[in-house]
């Protein structure tokens, strides 16, 4: 039924065309005398309607787009949605394992120890300094953010994997949630009136026309920066790696090939580090922004006294 849909058929055709893997590119480019389209390599990073696997391309279930007013929302499972879900499942399994091992004994070991180190680090070095003891109630959100982003960042570094966080839509979704959490925590801590009063920036009433839009804009810039930072970092590393692969395919020489490959290994290590770093940065900044909102309340109360 889905496949009879003309839109789906069209996209499927596009997807299969786009997903020519690098081997085929090399082959065809060889036939055409060295010139190959680098943009084909970048298709690796694009979202697609199928998942690469050792068994070839596996097509994913597609749904007809939903029309909401003028907007068309396509809820089909794409490659990035697939990895989004896969990472979620992996995360749940890993964390349930940790939680269960704690039920057996309070003494951690191995994998549990490692995860505990991260959890305690986030609690003692990120949440408590930025948000104080009141921030501990947001620990589950921040922990989920950190580990989910981390596992998504790492998903692109394994063969056949894709990085959902390398898609701006995914980071936008995460930023929307971060935005909501920042506002919710601020309203919770200050109360709605204080929160709204804060939007005026403490300026005299005749400046509100200017201040309020600026403050509201300010609310959006923070999550927007989160979204762009994560997306750009995840995409950048992949583009560099693909560019270096492009060099290999362009020169088609055994003498030249080792050098880009060496760089690829280096960049891969860097990406591994960046995957952790960006998950940490996203979490740290979210908790910082939440802390700014919640601590503004104590500030307001201080000024009242």
């Amino acid at each position: 039924m889905f496949f009879e849909n003309p839109i789906v058929q069209d996209t499927l055709q596009q997807a299969t065309h786009a997903l020519v893997d690098t081997a085929t590119i090399a082959h065809t480019s060889g036939e055409h005398g060295g010139g190959f389209n680098f943009m084909h390599l970048l298709d690796h990073m694009k979202d697609s309607r199928s998942v690469e696997s050792p068994l070839g391309h596996l097509s994913l279930p597609q749904f007809t787009p939903v029309h909401l007013g003028s907007a068309t929302i396509d809820l089909s499972i794409t490659k990035h949605v697939f990895f989004l879900l896969l990472c979620g499942v992996l995360l749940v399994i890993a964390m349930m394992y940790v939680a269960r091992s704690y039920k057996k004994s309070l003494v951690p070991h191995g994998f549990v120890n490692l995860l505990e180190l991260v959890i305690v680090f986030l609690r003692d070095e990120v949440v408590l300094p930025n948000m104080g003891p009141a921030g501990l109630r947001y620990m589950p959100y921040l922990l989920t953010t950190f580990f989910y982003i981390l596992i998504m960042n790492l998903a692109g570094l394994i063969p056949y994997g894709a990085t959902p966080t390398g898609n701006i839509m995914v980071t936008a979704g995460l930023a929307v949630i971060a935005f909501c959490m920042i506002q919710i925590s601020a309203i919770r801590a200050q109360g709605l009136t204080h929160y709204l009063a804060h939007l005026t920036g403490g300026a005299p009433w005749y400046l509100w026309v200017i201040m309020v839009p600026i403050e509201i804009l300010g609310l959006f810039t923070k999550p927007f920066a989160l979204c762009m930072r994560l997306f750009a970092n995840m995409t950048g590393g992949h583009i560099v790696i693909l560019s270096l692969f492009g060099l290999v395919l362009m020169f088609r020489s055994y003498i030249v090939a080792p050098f880009p490959l060496m760089f690829i290994v280096g960049i891969y290590m860097l990406e591994l580090f960046v995957a952790f770093l960006q998950a940490y940065v996203f979490t740290m900044l979210t908790s910082l922004f939440m802390g700014l909102g919640t601590q503004a309340s104590s500030h307001a109360e201080d000024s009242k006294h």
Partner: protein, 161 residues
């Protein structure tokens, strides 16, 4: 990469929210609770260890004091015992000496008495012997032949006139 696909945002938000609720319930709450529990446990254990250490140190001090006192007492006791033993020894020795002297005196006296008695007896016996000897001599003289002889000799000695 840059394609605008609102469906992905929706998927992300849905996945994240589901993940958040599931993880909060089944993973984060238990994990954080356990961490808290263990931390408090460790804190309590450390405090207890600290207290036990101070207690032990106090006990050690007390023990040392007790030991010193015991040693002192023991030294005193030994000294006392030694003194007592010395006194007792002297006592015993002097008493023994006294007794020995007394016994010696008694023995001397006894010996003297015995000697005296023996002397007396000897004297009596000597007298007796003398008497007996005299008697014997007398008896001998009194038999006929001897008498005759004796008389003869006496007669002979007598002047012939």
């Amino acid at each position: 990469m840059f394609e605008i696909n609102p469906g992905l945002i929706v998927w992300t938000i849905i996945t994240f929210l589901v993940l958040l609720s599931v993880m909060t319930k089944f993973a984060w709450k238990p994990i954080l609770k356990m961490l808290e529990e263990r931390e408090s446990k460790i804190r309590i254990a450390l405090e207890e260890a600290d207290r036990a250490r101070t207690e032990a140190a106090e006990m050690l001090k007390q023990n040392e004091k007790n030991l010193a006192r015991a040693e002192e007492e023991y030294k005193k006791m030994i000294q006392e015992g030694k003194a007592l033993a010395e006194k007792l020894k002297e006592d015993i020795v002097s008493k023994a000496r006294q007794q020995a002297q007394q016994e010696l005196k008694l023995a001397m006296e006894e010996i003297k008495r015995n000697v005296d008695a023996a002397k007396l007896q000897l004297r009596a016996e000597v007298a007796d012997l003398a008497i007996k000897a005299t008697e014997k001599i007398l008896e001998e003289t009194l038999d006929e032949k001897r008498q005759k002889q004796l008389i003869d000799s006496v007669m002979n000695k007598l002047p012939k006139n």
